[in-house]
């Protein structure tokens, strides 16, 4: 009889599974639940992009692509990064097409983090950074970002956690779940702290095209002197509604990218070829689609933030992604209690802030990638719930 506890990699088994898996499962089993809990767009992938994918299949483009990704796609990615964010990456040596932004983050961390290295991770943030750091043998060092700072990292918070062991900093902006955005000024302040260090920045910019307000997204690599240390991660899931296509990319200086590519070559071979052809079409002709979706999200954002504030759940103004992160502290409940009670009594599913880090306690995440009517119905049920407390 095999004792699995003796043969499985302890590094993996010791990683705590998502604490709210149980909660997810309950919500899926109940009927008439209205959810504000998903993390992907409600818009289907625009037709012209789907058509291109279908056409490539009809033409029989079903073989492996280059490990790096189709050259045409890398050229389009280079053009995209240039025209949108003013950053220049060479398609031949500085861009890798990956299986979603997820693979790019995994590759970036694995290429850079050695056992014992510290990786600074702001939280609340997306759940993958900590586990991937642990799998690479690194030590996550958490910065608990604060509501008063709009959940941005301050230079002081960064300075306080840098040690001789710090190898990398993850910059996940715009941020899931807080919707926080770091504007140019904010990033420049961080750059100042990093300037005379060897710290590598992994900038997860997957929500970059969903940036609201007066300023467009600033890519960290565009900040003076930061390009040489930055691995920029971006992709197609959120901007072009291509979550299931699994399309992302990593960009950075050639010495780093060549190592990420090495990992990718051995572990993945290449990203899905069909998706790559569709992605080329997205980059060439999809700007109008992004603008249309972003405009729609912007309206819903205002509606949901206003809605939560009117209910008495203070909600700061999220300037990116498609999440609102209201505080439920006024109810005196914990995030999990609030979400559980809300689910059972009013059949509304929200994600407790604690799913994204300890600092998420007292907050809940509400996605607004739903129709206006859906959002309004959910808000009115939440209002009833809060009034009945």
């Amino acid at each position: 009889m095999i004792d699995y506890s003796k043969i499985l990699n302890k590094c993996v088994t010791e990683i705590k599974p998502s604490g709210i898996r149980k909660f997810f499962d309950i919500a899926e089993q109940m009927s008439d639940v209205i959810s504000l809990g998903v993390g992907e767009p409600d818009f289907p992938t625009p037709w012209h992009i789907r058509s291109e994918g279908i056409r490539s299949l009809e033409k029989g483009k079903t073989r492996y692509s280059s490990n790096h990704g189709l050259l045409t796609l890398r050229e389009e990615i280079s053009s995209f990064m240039n025209r949108k964010y003013g950053v220049d990456y060479d398609p031949a040596s500085e861009i890798l097409v990956t299986v979603g932004g997820s693979e790019a983050i995994d590759g970036a961390i694995r290429a850079v983090v050695e056992p014992g290295d510290e990786v600074i991770i702001p939280q609340p943030s997306y759940v993958c950074y900590e586990p991937i750091t642990l799998l690479a043998g690194g030590t996550p060092v958490i910065i608990e970002t604060k509501a008063e700072n709009e959940f941005k990292i301050t230079p002081e918070e960064l300075k306080a956690v840098i040690t001789p062991k710090t190898k990398a900093l993850i910059l996940p902006y715009p941020c899931n779940p807080t919707g926080a955005v770091m504007r140019k000024k904010d990033l420049e302040a961080i750059a100042k702290v990093l300037k005379d260090t060897n710290i590598i920045v992994i900038s997860d910019e997957i929500y970059a095209e969903l940036t609201f307000g007066d300023e467009k997204h600033t890519s960290f690599a565009s900040i003076d002197d930061m390009r040489e240390r930055t691995i920029t991660v971006n992709g197609f899931s959120k901007a072009y509604s291509m979550t299931g296509w699994r399309m992302g990319f990593a960009c950075g200086p050639a010495p780093i990218l060549s190592q990420i590519t090495k990992i990718h070559q051995f572990a993945i071979m290449c990203a899905p070829t069909t998706s790559q052809y569709a992605a080329i079409e997205a980059l060439r002709n999809g700007d109008a689609d992004i603008a249309k979706m972003a405009e729609e999200y912007d309206m819903r954002r205002r509606l949901i933030v206003d809605g939560f504030n009117k209910i008495g759940l203070t909600c700061r103004n999220p300037l990116g992604a498609f999440y609102a992160f209201p505080s439920i502290q006024s109810t005196g409940m914990t995030s999990e209690e609030f979400c559980e009670k809300l689910l059972y009594s009013k059949k509304v599913a929200l994600v407790p802030g604690t799913a994204f880090g300890r600092g998420g306690e007292g907050f809940i995440r509400a996605s607004y990638c739903y129709s206006v009517d859906h959002i309004k119905t959910a808000l009115s049920r939440i209002q009833e719930f809060v009034e009945e407390l």
Binding site: F24, E28, S35, V38, D42, R300, R302, D306, V372, K376
Partner: protein
């Protein structure tokens, strides 16, 4: 002119002024003023509701009629179209390019009633050379509103 406002109202005429103001990042007074202007300029013509009459027991039948018209010197397409549109039974009148001239959509209580309307009121117009009546069997989508129930959202309840 506020295109975003028009798009919102085009999708749902029942948004309150407050909701519109919030979604547009504007204020109620401005939104109200803009709506009044759009109405008086004839850009907003009406606030109709899209109703799925087939769900109710009332018998109702609709048809799309293709009219081939021979315009006279003093009685052209415009006059014919404006005469036809005056009937209560007529829901829609379009001047078309292609194989026929006017597209007319007519609503009645029975197939027979609609057919009789076409025969008695439309065919008899001097300028009308021929009619072809097509009955609507099932509505799937009308004015951007999906009428057949289609569960579109397969995203599940939660995902991080």
């Amino acid at each position: 002119m506020n295109i975003k406002l028009l798009k919102l109202l085009g999708n749902n005429a029942r948004y309150s002024i407050a909701e519109l103001a919030t979604m547009l990042g504007s204020d109620e007074k401005t939104v109200e003023k803009e709506i009044n202007e759009l109405e008086s300029n004839g850009i907003i013509r009406s606030y109709k509701t899209v109703i799925d009459w087939e769900k109710i027991d009332t018998s109702t039948v609709s048809a799309l009629i293709e009219l081939k018209v021979s315009p006279q010197a003093d009685y052209g397409f415009e006059e014919i179209a404006k005469r036809i549109m005056k009937y209560d039974e007529v829901e829609t009148v379009y001047l078309m390019s292609g194989g026929f001239d006017l597209c007319v959509m007519v609503r009645g209580k029975t197939f027979q009633q609609v057919a009789m309307f076409v025969a008695k009121e439309l065919s008899t117009i001097d300028a009308v050379m021929s009619t072809a009546t097509h009955f609507i069997l099932r509505r799937y989508k009308e004015f951007d509103v999906v009428l057949c129930s289609e569960k579109d959202d397969d995203r599940g309840m939660l995902s991080l």
